[in-house]
């Protein structure tokens, strides 16, 4: 077994790494460009860190705080520029908003004495005179003050409670049809009013405001309000994650045109004040024509940190169909004849069905060359053929025909088990523990064997039929093998489809690729600097995805030590990632309570699915590729239709955090696993 995977023929996606980040050019560019691009990027510490390194290279001086740079980017992340502009026009966002970012960047550059970059940026921005002028206006206060300057206002702190109460009353008095959709603004207005009060030093009033109105907010916001309540002074506002989110993003509110007009009318009547200011600056209205939604409709998609996903973002066409299966017919028939000579013709006819199905041209399927895919080796084809043959024997599962379940119990794990993974054919079990171990357990009678040494391998007759068996060292046969290398809890394991490789990721921020033939670590992928929560192999192998505390999901290939794509846009940890069955998309679930679907080809976010009220622990695609099922700590399983990003089902009978979901192979059944207190 060589140290690299055997997809030698495959060319990487692009020569430069990483090539595309959310449609921006890569981070390995010149410093000036990097900085300017990152200015419009959202808050990802990882990216910022790379910026810092660039800066380091420039003058060898370490930037004081990495976090300070993260806060430079208030623009809504991953929103296609066309959409952003459209939204902007509707919400009447002042152009100075963009400018303040530039000012912040310039200040940062100036502070770190990055003259060249600064000049470049000024030239490029084209309004550096204005900046020069306005700078004095903003003053050279602390960084926090600059960043939060939008919160600065001289308004009377006593009017806050009153105006908010007015808003509440207005909504209460509204027609029932508008009432619920207008009430969506309550929470963001509440949050920003509170932050304004805190920023302007009216601590006691802020606390009183919070205490008075927090019970009026929806249940699913209470957790955020709780963490928000920690922020009671201006100093707390910088470097606090939830703050970054509120400050860095606009809150999306989906509303009918009539509803919006209704609200606007009220605001103009009320005449200025903090409510109007906040609604103008901080809220992003996604206006549509049609019937106002009911309360339950609104609640079903509310809850995410960023508000509701705008409809525009979910309009991109995606190819959710399955890839065209490679030509396996010959192989199957060949095998078939070899194995079961003179079998009944009836069976054969049945067997053709899945193949015929895959032959059909699915309009929703991506072209097979949309992204470079690993070439199937003979052994993979055999494996696939075997799987298809197995599938033919399968009994269709249904409500009345439920499968049996096999449970494995880990004894004496002492709450140290952090991840468990079965190989696709249920022959191997991998588990990671909080004390850095990774163990592979064979759950079939077959023992785990290691390859023979090089000298011994030379002696093997390579033409022998059983060469694969001969390559293995019988003496090393064991039921369990242990892999050591991580330096912290191992949060995720993933088998390659051919079961020769294993990926593990852990608290130490590394992803490790292990060979299950030599039982050694092959590669350590160091890209995430924070704990990696999840890693998943692509169904075809070669590619894999990871999600981390650094709020990015990343796409890797086994033969590249750096990520091919960095998917950045989540407002909190990316807790889980999942490959689409056709390998063209990656879904990521985050602690910001949203799910995003990323296109591998161009790195764009093509779907934002909001509706979870807690962090997302697990994502799973249906075998047909059209549906995505998700579940998390809000005890609910949601099923999404990827074709339009709509919520199709909400399964709510669980009463505890859900940690695992799985579709049956025919896609008829969905199983969910909850946390049980033992």
């Amino acid at each position: 077994m060589s140290d690299t995977p055997t997809y030698a023929s495959l060319t990487p996606l692009a020569p430069a790494i990483p090539t595309i980040i959310n449609g921006l050019s890569g981070v390995d560019m010149q410093p000036s460009q990097t900085v300017s691009h990152h200015a419009v990027m959202n808050n990802s510490e990882q990216v910022v860190n790379q910026v810092s390194m660039v800066n380091n290279g420039a003058n060898g001086q370490c930037p004081s705080t990495a976090m300070s740079l993260t806060v430079l980017s208030p623009a809504a992340p991953a929103t296609p520029s066309s959409l952003t502009s459209e939204v902007k026009s509707e919400s009447a966002e002042p152009p100075s908003f963009e400018r303040s970012n530039l000012i912040a960047v310039l200040q940062f550059l100036k502070k770190n004495n990055l003259k060249g970059t600064e000049d470049l940026l000024r030239r490029e921005s084209g309004f550096f005179d204005e900046i020069e002028d306005s700078k004095s206006g903003y003053g050279l206060e602390s960084e926090t003050s600059t960043i939060f300057s939008t919160y600065k206002n001289e308004g009377d702190p006593t009017e806050y409670e009153e105006t908010y109460l007015n808003l509440l009353n207005f909504i209460e008095r509204s027609l029932d049809s508008y009432k619920h959709e207008v009430s969506q603004v309550l929470y963001p207005v509440f949050v920003h009013m509170y932050l304004e009060l805190v920023y302007n030093g009216h601590e006691n009033m802020a606390i009183a405001f919070l205490e008075r109105f927090s019970p009026q907010q929806e249940d699913y916001y209470q957790e955020d309000i709780l963490s928000l309540s920690l922020v009671t002074t201006r100093d707390h506002m910088s470097g606090y994650q939830i703050m970054d989110n509120f400050r860095g993003s606009q809150f999306n509110v989906r509303i009918t045109r009539e509803g919006h007009a209704h609200l606007k009318r009220y605001l103009s009547e009320a005449g200025g004040g903090p409510v109007q200011r906040i609604i103008q600056n901080r809220l992003c209205f996604d206006i549509y024509d049609g019937v106002p939604r009911t309360r339950s409709q609104i609640v079903s998609t509310a809850g995410a940190l960023e508000g509701e996903a705008s409809r525009q973002v979910n309009k991109t066409k995606i190819f959710y169909g399955l890839l065209k299966e490679p030509e396996l017919q010959n192989l199957i028939i060949e095998e078939d004849e070899g194995e079961e000579e003179g079998d009944k013709p009836k069976k054969k006819k049945h067997k053709k069905d899945p193949l015929q199905k895959s032959k059909k041209n699915d309009p929703n399927a991506p072209p097979n060359n949309r992204i470079p895919l690993p070439e199937l080796r003979d052994i993979d084809k055999l494996e696939k053929a075997k799987a298809i043959r197995d599938a033919m024997k399968r009994v269709t599962l249904s409500k009345d025909n439920l499968p049996s379940i096999c449970f494995y119990t880990f004894l004496n794990s002492n709450a140290s088990l952090t991840s468990v993974e079965f190989s696709d054919d249920s022959s191997l079990l991998a588990f990671g523990t909080s004390d850095s171990f990774v163990c592979i357990q064979s759950i079939t009678p077959a023992k785990l064997k290691a390859l023979k040494s090089v000298e011994q391998l030379n002696d093997i007759d390579k033409d022998a039929d059983d060469v694969l068996v001969r390559m293995m060292d019988e003496r090393s046969a064991e039921q369990t093998k242990q892999l050591l290398g991580h330096s912290g809890p191992v949060y995720s394991c993933s088998f390659s489809p051919d079961r020769t490789l294993l990926l593990t990721a852990g608290k130490d921020g590394t992803i490790r690729l292990w060979s299950l033939q030599t039982w050694t670590c092959l590669v350590v992928y160091k890209g995430h600097i924070f704990p990696v929560w999840d890693v998943k192999f692509c169904q075809l192998g070669y590619y894999f995805a990871s999600g981390s505390h650094d709020r990015t999901a990343r796409l890797w290939a086994t033969d590249h030590h750096q990520p091919l794509r960095i998917f950045s846009g989540h407002f909190s940890d990316v807790d889980v990632v999942q490959f689409h069955p056709n390998c063209n998309y990656i879904a990521s679930g985050s602690s910001d309570r949203s799910i995003r679907l990323w296109d591998i080809q161009n790195g764009n976010c093509v779907r934002i699915l909001t509706g979870h009220k807690g962090l997302i622990n697990v994502l799973i695609f249906s075998p047909c590729g059209r549906y995505l099922s998700s579940a998390g700590s809000d005890h609910r399983v949601l099923v999404w239709d990827l074709s339009n990003g709509s919520l199709v089902a909400e399964l709510i009978s669980h009463t505890n955090s859900i940690y695992c979901l799985s579709f049956s192979r025919d896609g008829n059944l969905l199983v969910s696993v909850v946390w049980i207190n033992v």
């Binding site: 709780l226 920690l230 994650q241 809890p489 704990p531 505390h549």
Partner: protein
């Protein structure tokens, strides 16, 4: 430590939004680093900031908890949250379960802290039989203290004694009382020196070398600082008696009684806690039906007398209103005396025991029985059995010796034979003679305890014939309390005491191995001969031990011995 605990305490009582870091804690922490008198405003500022940061870190820690698939936040989660914030975590504070914070208050302050347990390192060393008063040596606990501790365990918690003493008592006294109650597991360890001493003493006491025995008994009777080994010595005696009563080995029973006597004589020991082992042993030596292989020839009467004196000594020293020792002992004897078919040996023992308990006891319990005893004696004197004749003559002698002084006081001078005969039957005439004799010798003493105490040990030493005889009876290797074998009653949860010697080279010195079933014996270190560990009652272990105790316990300590 102080931080977390106070915070936790608050969190359990208050609603989440009002949880704050207590100002008191800020002040205390300030003081601990030398900042005196932190003002309220400053403390409030600091407290707010700490609260914010702690909660911030806790929020991150919950992520680690969640990804660890747990619902319980661990210390490790907190450490990891600190790490991702690039803060060096506080190492060494790990806890699988809860953090065992202790609470203390005083001077208007309330404190939570983690108790640092002091590790007890025993360093017991005697030079020429005298324990030197070096810092490493625990000072011998005064008898009063031992007494206090055993009579009223709660009292010493309140008394302010020297810290070392306190720790000491805690190690020896309270620990064994308290923790044994809570769980079955309790480890008693002796230092290597103590183990050596124990071995030497027990070997010498039951060995055949009389001068050596004398030395050993002298050591037991006069050396201070033996209190740590008293439980083991008492167990040794108790187990030894149990086996040897069954085996009817008079010599060893005598040796063991002399050991008990030596311990009782030791002025530095307070044995109240171990009476449950000593008293039954001594009582066995008084009232057992048969104590030797040839009851008609061997002088087991002397052993009974000696043991009876012991029991009276115990009663005198340790009888309290709470343990009712004397009442209970007396009741045993009188029941023995009143029973119809009491064996003559037992009867002798019972009378001896009652007599030793003082004239008042004899008056109350022996005198009423005198007539029935007389009849029995008369009856037995005519029997053909030499043993019975022998026995009743001993009983007769004993009664005459002990009852005469009482009668002398009870009755008025005209001692008429007929009166005595009427009242006491066969014994009447003998009693009359004895009383008259007693009246003549005014200076003669009532058979008192003082005479018993001063009675030389040698006096009751068995004839040499028996000493020679004993080794041939058994090889002097005794397995005490072997299940269902020797003693017949396996006691669960009992400690294991092992005593070994070099088996081949020193054949004359006996080895006594006593084990009881549910226990394991393990060898801790090469220098340390053995550690006695009690184990939970598990049937599997029980069986293993039945088969194997000799191997593990005999061989391994041997190596240690050789090194020593």
């Amino acid at each position: 430590m102080i931080l977390d605990s106070t915070l936790l305490c608050k969190m359990t009582t208050d609603t989440p939004s009002t949880v704050y870091f207590p100002l008191e804690s800020v002040k205390i922490i300030g003081e601990s680093i030398g900042i005196q008198s932190v003002s309220d405003e400053v403390a409030k500022e600091v407290s707010e900031d700490i609260t914010f940061r702690l909660k911030n870190i806790l929020q991150d820690a919950t992520k680690f908890m969640n990804h660890g698939k747990r619902k319980k936040l661990s210390v490790l989660d907190f450490d990891q949250a600190l790490q991702i914030k690039n803060i060096e975590p506080l190492y060494g504070i790990t806890s699988k379960e809860h953090i065992p914070f202790r609470f203390a208050s005083g001077g208007g302050r309330e404190l939570h802290f983690i108790e640092d347990k002091e590790i007890e390192i025993a360093h017991w060393l005697a030079i020429e039989g005298v324990q030197p008063s070096i810092p490493e040596n625990p000072p011998p606990i005064s008898k009063n203290l031992q007494k206090k501790e055993s009579v009223d365990p709660a009292a010493k918690l309140s008394t302010q004694i020297d810290k070392r003493d306190e720790k000491h008592i805690h190690g020896r006294g309270m620990k064994s009382i308290e923790t044994v109650k809570v769980k079955q597991l309790a480890t008693h360890e002796l230092s290597a020196e103590q183990q050596l001493y124990y071995k030497e003493i027990t070997e010498a006491c039951v060995g055949s070398d009389e001068p050596k025995r004398g030395e050993a008994l002298h050591s037991l009777a006069f050396d201070p600082g033996l209190h740590q080994m008293v439980p083991r010595l008492c167990t040794f005696i108790a187990e030894g008696v149990r086996v040897n009563v069954v085996q009817k080995n008079l010599a060893l029973l005598i040796y063991l009684m002399r050991m008990a006597k030596a311990l009782l004589d030791n002025q530095t020991l307070y044995l109240e806690k171990y009476l449950h082992e000593i008293v039954p042993s001594v009582m066995s030596c008084i009232v057992s039906r048969q104590l030797c292989l040839k009851p008609d020839m061997d002088n087991h009467w002397a052993l009974r007398d000696f043991a009876a004196r012991l029991i009276s000594q115990i009663c005198k020293n340790y009888n309290t209103t709470t343990n009712c020792l004397q009442t209970r002992i007396t009741r045993v004897f009188s029941r023995c005396l009143n029973a119809d078919k009491t064996h003559l040996s037992s009867m002798y023992g019972a009378i001896a025991g009652l007599s030793e308990l003082g004239p008042e006891v004899s008056k109350a319990l022996v005198l009423p029985k005198l007539r029935s005893l007389s009849e029995k004696i008369e009856q037995c004197l005519e029997s053909t059995s030499t043993f019975e004749k022998n026995a009743v003559s001993h009983i007769k002698g004993l009664l005459l010796k002990n009852v005469a002084p009482i009668l002398k006081l009870l009755r008025n001078p005209p001692d008429l034979v007929q009166d005595y005969k009427n009242e006491y039957g066969y014994l009447g005439s003998h009693l009359q003679i004895a009383v008259v004799k007693a009246r003549q010798a005014t200076s003669s003493t009532t058979t008192s305890i003082s005479s018993a105490a001063s009675a030389p040990l040698k006096a009751i030493a068995p004839p040499t014939r028996i000493i020679q005889h004993a080794p041939s009876v058994s090889q002097r290797t005794f397995v005490v309390n072997k299940p269902a074998a020797a003693a017949g009653q396996a006691q669960l949860g009992q400690k294991v005491i092992i005593m070994t010697s070099k088996p081949a080279s020193n054949q004359s010195s006996p080895s006594v191995v006593s084990t009881s079933s549910p226990l394991t014996v393990s060898v801790a270190q090469a220098t340390q001969k053995y550690v006695v560990v009690s184990a939970p009652n598990q049937p599997q272990i029980k069986q293993e031990i039945k088969e194997e105790p000799m191997d593990t316990s005999m061989m391994s300590p041997q190596q240690g011995l050789d090194i020593l």
